[in-house]
Symmetry: C4
Subunit: 192 residues, 4 copies
């Protein structure tokens, strides 16, 4: 009941986030290929953030597809997730414009980490609403990938103080882990 | 009849509002943590506005969920509400960039107040369409929380001329009152 | 068939247009009420444009509600309408920032006129698809209000070269004509 | 299963892309018609990009209308398409602000080409999911128009190094080919 509008609103917010990020990439003044060189880091940041927001949308889609009901706490947890996702354009711009400087890279990781925490909270709120024996709970299972990501974000943040590019590489690694379409929930639903 | 599209359009507008607010927070030029200090007030303003717009979306969701029909006046009242919500990004930017100066804080309160008035009008238009005996009317009830908020906004505006931070604190208080998921309509619907 | 997605896409585009217009209103640097004086014309322009886009959305909602089918030409006519609506933020900004100077006011009228022409084309394409005896055709009827608006836009454009504020007043007049919820289609549908 | 949300999300992203492109067209400072002359190339670029994004939306609409199911790879291919479309505002701004200089025109063509490749991949992924005997596969057929477009984009990119306006003319030609409502899938569906 009302799940449709939560999906529609989340789709809207995520669609705007993924698209306005491109506004951080300002058209350069020159007309040579070399004019694009200074915005190269912004472009790379944009690509990674686009992949991340895309992954969140796909997982959010699967998660709510498996959910049968929502309540006020689900809406609150969902808003909390959207809040952290809404900081992606700002962090992407800051990290890109500063050519992956240490602090921006570390803080980008903090936002990635907080978004992942928010997603985990949303999953837990939904499971507690549906029960531990629900399709949703069994589909999520131990959520190994989710906890691995949290650990890798923390590692990436720490590593970025040693080498900023290495920190960024950690975030790319997490994205790569998720980019392969996640069949856990799909498989579980089919098995039913 | 047509309720779905009013929900979809409102979702779209609110989704854009909640997301473009983040564009008021411009990535700073420095790469140190200290570079974030000047945008700290913008961030705090953004968080409060995000919570407000989120609360409006949740309440709007509940309100239209309980509605069975709409007419031209409902659409007009809905547009009026969306208008005041659309001023949030501007006010958020102005208040944040000026570090909670008196006039911006007071005017932010005026926009909060007008949005609340617009929401109350929407509620009244819907109740007059559904009748005083409708589920919607009994679910809203005396709307104590709504009228309390209006009083608190006015108090906040007045107080902001004495102490700007105290004015801002009033607005945070109203947000806190609403942040707890509102079960009034949900409970009423279940009781049926 | 497919009507739902045309509605959804139009809702999305119109929701973004109505909301990004507010970005033309940049937070001023001062913190006094007087700091808002220079953006007053932008605010007035924004209010009028918001009302216009809102009216277009409501009428578009009614029009497609009465439609039973769409084809490629309907989608093309719909895109054409969305194109002219998409120029509202630009024209609103230009007219407002230049305090209703003659040429911006006249060109704002041209965009209003073209949007109205595009809407009329969409209506005609839909009627030719549904037939002259359809509910949609009888609901639209002679479309007196539509043709009156076209005439008033042209008058407003001409008048703006004599007195720019008088031109703007014409546009406000057309908005006022439409602001009263349009019951033509609703009544027709009920009569069935 | 889940097709609705993929459509809704794509609608949202495409609606935002088509609308924020207009933000690249900044209101000029002067109030004479001559003040619009410098933004003329941006306007022409905007019109072409609007038509392109509109065409993509219409074709995407038809394609997913003919699809009966989706999977993770479809979502990935869809995200890939949305990524290239999301670069349209940036490229439109760069090409327009630089008055169709060679490199921006050529790179605009590269983005058009990559979006077309992404669309072709999405079509192939959907066909491989539905089977070669499906309505979708027979509706697409040999996809002559799709491959012709790819060839014309490459030709346009090459030609733009000889004459930048000629390169741009090639892109206009491809848009013209697609602007006529595509009846292939519609006809096929009706024949069933």
């Amino acid at each position: 009941m009302g799940k449709g509008r939560v999906e529609a609103f989340s789709d809207g917010v995520i669609a705007v986030i993924i698209t306005i990020m491109v506004l951080e990439m300002k058209p350069p003044h020159g007309t040579e290929l070399s004019a694009l060189v200074p915005i190269w880091p912004v472009f790379v940041s944009y690509v990674l953030s686009f992949i991340y927001v895309g992954i969140y949308w796909v997982n959010h889609h699967h998660l709510l597809h498996a959910a049968h009901k929502i309540n006020g706490w689900v809406m609150l947890a969902n808003m909390h997730l959207l809040f952290w996702l809404s900081l992606f354009p700002f962090m992407t711009g800051w990290m890109g414009e500063n050519h992956f400087a240490t602090i921006p890279v570390a803080l980008y990781g903090v936002v990635l980490f907080m978004a992942a925490v928010a997603y985990t909270i949303l999953v837990r709120v939904l499971i507690s609403l549906h029960g531990n024996e629900s399709t949703l709970a069994t589909a999520i299972g131990g959520d190994f990938k989710g906890y691995l990501s949290l650990a890798l974000y923390l590692a990436g943040i720490a590593v970025s103080f040693v080498n900023n590019y290495a920190g960024f590489a950690f975030y790319c690694l997490v994205a790569a882990i998720w980019l392969i379409p996640d069949r856990r929930i799909e498989r579980q639903l089919k098995a039913k």
